[in-house]
Structures are given as structure tokens and as C-alpha cells.
Amino acid sequence: MRLQLLGLLVVLTTFTWATQAAEPPPPPVKPPVERPFTADSAKAAADKAEAWLGQSYDFKGVTFGDPKSPNAKMPGVIALVVRALAECRHDYRESNGPFITGPVKYLLECQQENGAFALKEGGRETYNTALTIAALSALENDAYTGKIEKARAYLLKCQIKDGGFSYGYGFHGGSDLSNTWIALNGLNASGYAKVKESADVYKSVLNFVRSCQDNIETNPTEDGKLGENSGGGYYTPTKSEAGTLKTRKGDTVPKPYGSMTAAALESFMLCGLKADAPEVKAALKWFKANFSAKENPNVGAAGYFYYAAAAARALKAAGVKELEAADGHKINWAAELGSQLAKIQRPDGSFVNTEAKWLEDDPVVCTAYALTALTLCRETLK
């Protein structure tokens, strides 16, 4: 009797377990997986950033953010915002609202006799003019062609003998890669590449940009033969914001860093070089070894947002989605950069740097850069 009972129990238990086996087994307990950063993630962060810029706009005073900020009336800063809004996924144009038409009207009023877009008291004419040209060009309104061309004529006067651009016409402190890169952005945005005479200009600019890159094969200067051949960029042929480094051979050379390597990379593309050009490949080599989503490589927090926007522009222009690091692992730069930006974004949608250098204590500046970077991250991740 007991044996039969046992047998019955076994049958029933097996029957029960067997039917349970027909159901899918419960999933194994896994550690929580971080949600991957996708195009939609970038969209969400970018939308919050543009909403902050929009609601920070005062249509009466024509300012973004704090009207008492020293940057509030600077054409270049306003242009940075307008350009970021025009390039974001909503393609803002004048027909969208006063946050475009107001700044545009103001920017046009900032055009000086000599064609520069600048404040009356002067200063940073190259930045202000080039960024304004880029912003106005992005709005695709033929009514501004004449003024853009007049500004472009001024901008070209800011180029000096070594091919680079300085702070403004008549500036005595020499040229640098940052002004040069921004100037190229302005020139290209206005369609300068289609103008016949531009070929010589691009040739001379290219020569300057090459002289700011640690790439022995293509750097035309004597000092340019002394570096470690890392492919990275620096501020001028002899100066770097990241300081210097002593090479294995014992020479002291400028230390390449993130923002200027990005500036060099995009500048090469804007001058017409292709992705397989040695200069471009060298810059990408530097990024493979040094890319960071969290700081301006070899500098730290200073200029992080400038770097984020510049790196996003440059890598997108070079058609790169992944950087393969030395150990073989692939860096999805858009996912990493976008993810970091989303992490540090403030609850109100804005961004600001802990380091005040280069205007990055100003949330208007940082949010405009971040919006540009996030827009490009989204386009790359789609």
C-alpha cells in the first residue's frame, strides 16, 4: 500500500513538475544592467536643454539667461545659442518665434562699418564675426546674404601671414588654432568653399593647422619634427593650454589636448581633406588613445563644454561612430559623451562648468555647447 502511495505521489509530482517545465523557467537573477544610451536618450536631454534656453529668453531685453551677465549682449554668445537652436532636431528658424527673430535683429545691428559683427567697444572680432556668420547662415534666409558677405570680407582680413586667424584685424598677438577653427566654421557655413578664390585661402589655413598638430609626416615646421607623433593638436605651433611635455629624446614640446585636437580634426575636414588623409588619421589615432567623455583630455574640467561640442562636430564630420582603443575595445563616442552630458545636466535642463575658464561659468554658453553636442550624439546614434 505504501509503495503504491509513494508511486502515486511520484507520478503526481513528476506530472506537476513536468507541466511546470512546459512553462518558461524563471529568469536568472542578474545584476541591474545600465540602460544603454540611445538616440532617444540624447533627444530627451537635448529637448530639456533647448527648453531651458527658450524659457531663459527675455523677448523685451533680447537676452538669454541672466541679463546682467557680461556675456548677455555679446554677439558671439548669442550667435552660439541661435546656431545651436537652428541645428537642433527642431530646426528652429525665424518663423518659430521671438527667440530667433529678436537675436537676429540684434546681431544685424551689431555689424560695424568694417563689416565685423562686434560690440562697439571692440574685442574678439574673429569669434564674434565668425559665430554670427555661422548663426545667420544656419537660418537660411537670403535677405542676409549681403551682410554675411560683408562680414566674411572682414573675417578674411583676420587671417595673418602664417595662415592662421588671430583675435581680430590688427591684433598683435599672433594667430591660434581656436580662432582659426571658429573662423573656418563661419567661412564654410556661409558657403565660402564654393567661391573660386577660396582655394588659396584654404591652402594657407591648412598649412597653419598642420603646424599645430603633433604629426611629423605633415607638420611643416622645424619644431613640428620634435614631438612624439601622437596626432594631437595644440593652441599654436609652440603653445599649449595643457603645458609642455618632455619627449623621449629630451625635447620640450607643447602637450596636445582634447579641445585643440578636435579643432584641428574638424578644421582638416572643413579645408577639404578626406577621411583617409594622414592628418585626419593621425588626429583619430590621438582620440583612440585619449578620448574622454568626462573631461577635456590632458586639461581636465576647463573648457569641457567647448571640447564636447568640438569633438562631436569633428568626429561626426570625419564619419566616425566608434573609436577602436589600443586594447581592442570599441569606444562608442556618441553614447559615452551623450550619457555623461545627460548625467551632469541640471534638473532645469541647463549646464554649467565647475571651472569658470573661457566663459564656462555661464550656463548660456555651456548649455548651447551641450545642446550642439547632444544633437550630434543623437544623429550619430540613430
Partner: protein, 387 residues
């Protein structure tokens, strides 16, 4: 000893039976009894929502269960229609109302900042609280009205009628950059409930925006809406559709008009006082008749099929209720009793527990609370229009 075996057997059989427990099959609708079916569907949907009501006034356990807009839509659905519940009979409604009231901020918005969409949330909350019909909410509603009006992009926000053609007169997500027709109609629904009429400045300005969203050359002055096929349907905002562009008969790229915005746009025109014989309304009805379908939203590319279906049922039902014809003349001798069609169809896709859900998750339609609320609102209106 002898009783243990039957007990063990009983437990094992019960366990086995439970493993095999399946959903009972959905009831087979009796032919010709669509009114009863629709009422049955309404009551089952109500039961689902009430069964999933939480102590704090929200519904369900989904990620977005705390979103005031979702709470509001459930409340509005439950408090409307042929079997409507009242706060005193259904404690879940009273709790939901308290939840909404508790989310109002100093500017009058009823929302949770983390979830954004202040206008949608405030507008649906207004509709829900109005449906509960209790004067104790008047102060909350007055402040909400002020907030909603501030979401309109007009002169007081620096917008000019003939300059800011993409935006002027429309309502934005919050006090921000981009107006669209969906935010606009939700705001108009709320403002209408709060007493605004067609002659109010808000509605007059909204009409400018709504016209600019219609694929109708005769009445649309937006330069970005010049290239459509003149089908009479509506897009999301001038020059833009949520379903991107299509190639017109003339070979141009134009934003795709689609069901959701077409029904919302027509209803907005009617709220603004345009008559049935106005060119805009005639053009809209031309689109609606030509594309009549209660099962699938017209205008969607294949890849987007199913997106926003439950939003569509509400847009269709609310629009045709306001238009005021229970039977549409589709031409060629065909007629459509839309209440019968919609009520009958929704009853067949309702799950056994009374819920509805969209297998396509865009716009949160993987949330059964949201979809059931939408479906309930649609069923309530379908019921009233069953012939």
C-alpha cells in the same frame, strides 16, 4: 493516516489545475446588440480602473502611474458617459481629485516637473476636475486656467501673427518653444470647459494656428504648407508631421496629414465657431470621409502602424460627437454609423480583465491604465452615438 493521501492528492491536483489556468475566452458579441456590448465594455473598463486604484489616488503600478495626466484621463473617463461614477459613490475618484489638486504649483500648473508636459497634464486635470462638478475645485481651476493661457504663444509672449508663422496662436508643452496641434486642442478642451468661447482672444488666436496646420491651400497661408495634396487633413504644426513626409502627386516632399491631428484639428475649428459649410470644415470632413476607419489610423506609414491608436479613438469620438452626426455619409451610398462601428470594435479588442493596451508602445500606449482610460472615453461617446 488515511486522510492524508486525499489531502495530498487534492493539493497536487489543485496545483496542477492552477498551472493550467488560462484566461477565459472573451465573450462572443451577440449580433445586433452593439449598444449592450458597448455598455458592457464600459462597465468592464471601469471595473479594471477601479480595481487598480491606489490609496494615493493614482492608478496601476506602471512606471508613469504618478503622472497627473494619466490620473486625470482615468478620472475623466470614469466620471463621464452612460454609467458615470461620482466622487461620493466611488472613493477612488475623490482620492484621484485630491491627488491632482495636490500637484498644482505656484504658477497654476498641475504636473510633476520630472515628467514634464505641463500643459497636457494641467489641461487633462482641468477636464477631470470639471467632470466631478464640485465647486470646491473652483480656485484650483482658476489658477490652472491662468497657467494654460500662459502656454499660448501670442503677443504677450512676444509672438507676432505674421512673422512667427510656425507658432503663433498655438499652445506649447509648457511656457516654451514649440507649439503643436495636440497641445493646442488639449488646452482648448480645458479652456472650453472653463467657459471660454469662440469669441475669446485665445480661441481667435488659436484659429490662426489651427488653419496653418491644415493641408488646405485655400485657407492656409503658411509657406511650409504649400506642397501638400490638398487632402484636407491636418499635421502636427505648420510644416511638420509626427509621421514625417511623403511624396505628393506633384513629386514634392510634404508633411503627412494623419488621423489623430485631422480629428483634433476639425474639432478645434468647430470650437472656434467655424460652420459646417466653411471651407476648412468641408475640407476636413472630405479627408475624414475618404479615410474613415475605426480600426486603423489613416495616414501612417507601414512602419508606424498602430502608433497612437487609443489616442486616435478619443480624437475620432470627441470630434464626431462635437460635429454632431451619428451617421456619416461616405458617398456612393455608403453610410457609417461611427458609434456602432467604434463601440463594436473596441468591445472585441478588450481584454478579459476589462483593460486595453497597444502592442505598439509609442507615446506610452504600452500602459494599460492609459489605454483603458482612452478607450473608456471613446466608448462613452460611441455609446451616445449608437443608432
Amino acid at each position: 493516516m488515511s486522510y492524508r493521501l486525499p489531502l495530498i492528492l487534492a493539493v497536487m491536483l489543485l496545483a496542477t489545475a492552477t498551472l493550467y489556468a488560462a484566461e477565459p475566452p472573451p465573450p462572443v458579441p451577440a449580433k445586433g446588440d452593439v449598444k449592450a456590448q458597448t455598455l458592457e465594455a464600459i462597465k468592464k473598463a471601469q471595473k479594471f480602473l477601479i480595481d487598480n486604484a491606489n490609496e494615493d489616488g493614482t492608478f496601476g503600478k506602471g512606471f508613469a502611474h504618478g503622472v497627473p495626466g494619466v490620473v486625470a484621463l482615468a478620472t475623466y473617463g470614469l466620471a463621464s458617459g452612460p454609467a458615470k461614477l461620482t466622487a461620493d459613490k466611488a472613493p477612488a475618484l475623490a482620492k484621484a481629485a485630491e491627488y491632482l489638486v495636490g500637484k498644482q504649483d505656484a504658477k497654476g500648473a498641475i504636473w510633476i516637473p520630472k515628467f514634464q508636459n505641463a500643459n497636457y497634464n494641467t489641461s487633462t486635470a482641468v477636464m477631470a476636475l470639471k467632470a466631478l462638478n464640485d465647486p470646491k475645485y473652483n480656485e484650483v481651476l482658476d489658477k490652472a486656467k491662468e497657467f494654460i493661457l500662459n502656454c499660448q504663444l501670442d503677443e504677450k509672449a512676444g509672438y507676432e501673427k505674421d512673422v512667427h508663422i510656425r507658432s503663433y496662436g498655438g499652445f506649447a508643452y509648457a511656457m516654451s518653444l514649440q507649439a503643436n496641434l495636440s497641445n493646442t486642442i488639449f488646452a482648448m478642451d480645458a479652456l472650453k470647459d472653463l467657459g471660454l468661447k469662440e469669441d475669446s482672444p485665445a480661441f481667435k488666436n488659436a484659429l490662426t494656428f489651427v488653419r496653418r496646420c491644415q493641408d488646405n491651400l485655400e485657407t492656409n497661408d503658411s509657406p511650409e504648407m504649400k506642397f501638400g495634396d490638398n487632402a484636407g487633413g491636418f499635421v502636427y504644426l505648420p510644416g511638420e508631421s509626427e509621421h514625417d513626409t511623403f511624396k505628393t502627386r506633384a513629386g514634392k516632399e510634404a508633411p503627412v496629414p494623419y488621423g489623430n491631428m485631422s480629428f483634433q484639428g476639425l474639432r478645434a475649428l468647430l470650437y472656434c465657431g467655424l460652420g459646417k459649410d466653411s471651407p476648412e470644415v468641408k475640407a476636413a470632413m472630405k479627408y475624414i470621409r475618404a479615410n474613415y476607419d475605426v480600426k486603423n489610423q489613416p495616414g501612417l506609414p507601414d512602419a508606424s502602424k498602430g502608433q497612437g491608436y487609443f489616442y486616435y479613438t478619443v480624437a475620432l469620438a470627441r470630434c464626431l460627437s462635437v460635429y454632431g452626426e451619428s451617421e456619416l455619409d461616405l458617398g456612393g451610398g455608403k453610410k457609417a454609423a461611427w458609434g456602432n462601428d467604434l463601440g463594436g470594435y473596441l468591445a472585441t479588442i478588450q481584454k478579459a480583465d476589462g483593460s486595453f493596451v497597444n502592442p505598439v508602445d509609442r507615446w506610452q500606449e504600452n500602459d494599460p491604465i492609459l489605454c483603458t482610460s482612452y478607450a473608456l472615453i471613446a466608448l462613452n461617446l460611441a455609446y451616445e452615438n449608437i443608432k
